[in-house]
Amino acid sequence: MKHLLSIEQLSREEIEGILDRAESFAEVGRRDIKKVPTLRGRTVVSLFYESSTRTSSSFDLAAKRLSADVVSVKAAGSSIEKGESLKDTIATLSAYDPAAIVIRHPYAGAAQMVAGWTAASVVNAGDGKHEHPSQALLDVYTLRRRLGSLEGVRIWIIGDVLHSRVARSNLIAFTRMGAEVTVCGPPTLIPRGIEELGCGVSHSLDGIGEAEVVYTLRMQKERMSESFVPSLREYAARFQIDTRRLNPRQLLMHPGPVNRGVEISGEAVDSPQSLIAEQVSAGLVVRMAILYELLAGGEGVPSGEGEAGKPTPIGTPA
């Protein structure tokens, strides 16, 4: 695999391969020395055109745990603010000969375009409202650890599906792993035709009892001013996930950052059935596995490189 641009591009076997690799990195993470030399001497550039805490920090840390040199560029304070085009920015950063570019961009297809402009492997860390493949992989990883398999598992994805790249990538990933997915929210926030992606659609929480996993999405305050919902109060009254609406056997997930009291109650966030903290720690090992897969896992390794470029057994400490 040369790039990770979407979940859509991955087969079930490829997803499982990355997750198996992540499992072995989880073992490394339990050691005193958490660093492996796999990417020593190679450079990973992370380029974020949107604000991010979780994704950018976990990609940076993942690259560092693999011993790569990491360059982080944020749009704010860079020449992007001076009007440099994406194509020119990529040409500039490619001059450092990076092994990988991790990019988050506000527009769909940006990562795919970048892949056409650079020799580096490209990782899509979120492109507009299109895809967020590393999030979907870490969510599948989290569930797989809990449930063993997603085969036949009923998952409800609840909230602002229309504006959510997480919803799209997770819907594809969950169904590809055998789960039965229902998306739920007010009709204004469910994209027309989404059922053709292979999910059920509900406009009420009435049937939520059937779900084994409840996945809530972030509800942005500005959606109210755009008339997608009349008020956050009315939205919360109909669609907020709280401990009353959950039964104790259901697992609760959220990609973060949460708006406590809007899409999810504070009590639910902190409840024992919440996997939110596990999702964050899964993010690190899954992103290590993604970088490993692209840069050391097969056809991604350029030939004729020195020692540093060779895949190293991940059990060997640095």
Binding site: A108, Q112, M113, D127, H130, P191, R192, G193, I194, L197
Partner: protein, 449 residues
């Protein structure tokens, strides 16, 4: 009436040509047989029996196996002049038209600044007389500077030679202003060409709203954004006994509205573009703005089929390219940021021949008829091969395969929706208003007999 009575072109030498043994097809004139086409003094002088026309000093083109059609007419072209000559100008745009087999085009008024005054129209006409390879007609805007608030001086614009009116690029949102323009048409004449879209429904959409946009996470432009405005304006035109031309139909519902309005006696004409006839929104999946980003957007397969049915039954009387040149920096960006629009003049016939005629979806005669159907809605004579007509002829090799963009473009811009595709059918030569406007470089011509 000849095209040059209302359109402007660079004056040149009248062609004296014989297209020897050409297969002549003009479905409207009822011609479908092999002839020597004699072109002299700006006219189709004769359709002689094959091999019989007397050379008489004419240049003889050995056209056996080649097809001669009435040259095409495009009522919807963006020449980007004045103001955006880095994308297209009078010379490059009309050369592209000639290379595509067109004997006439109509230039849109959404230039920079827009064509809103008599002086703007006069200046453009003068430029066309200096540098246009094919006759060009100019529309003026309906509203001043396309702001959608006040009417332009429509009578004066017509007197200066504006062929008609359009705010194309933008809809006329205010129904009251639209109604005034239709009322005023009784005074000034000239058709009003309409870009139909309700911005309150299309909002920040970048593609058709449907399962494909749902999968891509792109904001959608629903079909009703177009069809409700077509319905509004058909009702207004009927109410005012006025005349409208609906541009670039894209949605099945809009085709149906036009069909019903025509049946009710409303004076309404409509066009469809080659990209809407050849592609559906599935083409957006690759997120390639060059191929698939335009407004109106590529819609679903059922919409494409409805447009084709509209071509067949005459609801859609003409094919118009909506040739919209853009520079690479406006297309080499993520899909949502990219400029809307694709070029089409140089590829329209070949693309439609390849995608619709060769697979048997429509027959060649229908394509030929619709490619020249854009003249009549703007009070121009339909190009014809009947003897005595002004010579507007395109000579095509229907078996020739070529790859779009391989030899560059006549247009200044390269944002063709079918770049890199191999098409079958190629324009070899175009005669526009009696002059040879184009001949393919690699096409070797016969010598004087």
């Amino acid at each position: 009436m000849s095209l040059t009575e209302l359109l402007d072109v660079r004056p040149g030498e009248s062609a004296h040509l014989i297209l020897r043994r050409a297969t002549v097809l003009d479905p409207v004139a009822g011609i479908d047989s092999v002839h020597d086409v004699v072109i002299r003094d700006g006219e189709i002088a004769a359709l002689a029996a094959p091999g019989e026309a007397d050379g008489d000093g004419a240049e003889v083109v050995e056209a056996e196996g080649l097809h001669a059609f009435p040259a095409f007419f495009d009522p919807h072209v963006h020449l980007r002049t004045p103001g955006q000559e880095h994308k297209e100008d009078m010379e490059t745009g009309t050369r592209a038209a000639a290379a595509g087999g067109y004997c006439g085009i109509i230039a849109m008024a959404n230039t920079s600044p827009p064509v809103s005054t008599a002086a703007d129209v006069s200046a453009l006409r003068e430029q066309a007389r200096a540098g246009a390879s094919v006759p060009v007609g100019f529309l003026a805007t309906v509203s001043k500077d396309m702001e959608g608030r006040e009417l332009t001086e429509m009578v004066e614009l017509r007197e200066a030679g504006a062929l008609g009116f359009s705010d194309d690029g933008l809809p006329i949102v205010d129904a009251g202003l639209m109604r005034r323009a239709l009322q005023y048409q009784h005074l000034c004449g000239g058709n009003i060409a309409l870009h139909e879209e309700d911005p309150a429904l299309s909002r920040d959409g970048v593609m058709h709203e449907g399962p494909v946009s749902a999968g891509l996470g792109l904001a959608g432009i629903p079909s009703v954004s177009e069809s409700t405005m077509v319905a509004r304006d058909a009702a207004l035109a009927g109410h005012e006994s006025a005349r409208i031309h609906v541009q670039h139909l894209s949605a099945a519902e809009s085709v149906e509205v036009v069909r019903v309005a025509k049946a009710a006696g409303v004076r309404i004409s409509a066009e469809a573009s080659p990209h809407h006839l050849c592609l559906a929104d599935e083409a957006v999946r690759d997120l390639d703005p060059q191929r698939a980003k335009m407004n109106p957007p590529l819609r679903e397969e059922r919409d494409r089929q409805a447009l084709i049915e509209g071509l067949r039954d005459g609801t859609v009387e003409c094919i118009a390219t909506d040739h919209a040149p853009h520079q690479p920096e406006e297309k080499d960006v993520p899909f949502e940021q990219a400029a809307m629009g694709v070029t089409g003049l140089e590829t329209a016939f070949a693309a439609l021949h390849t995608e619709l005629v060769l697979p048997g979806v429509i027959d060649l005669a229908l394509l030929v008829e619709r490619m020249a159907g854009g003249a009549e809605p703007f009070d121009l004579a339909r190009p014809s091969l009947a003897p005595g007509s002004e010579a507007n002829v395109v000579l095509c090799d229907l078996g020739a395969e070529w790859t779009v963009g391989e030899d560059g473009y006549e247009s200044r811009s390269a944002n063709s929706w079918c770049a890199g595709q191999t098409l079958t059918g190629r324009v070899l030569m175009t005669v526009a208003a009696g002059q040879v406007a184009f001949r393919l470089r690699s096409f070797s011509l016969g010598v004087a007999a």
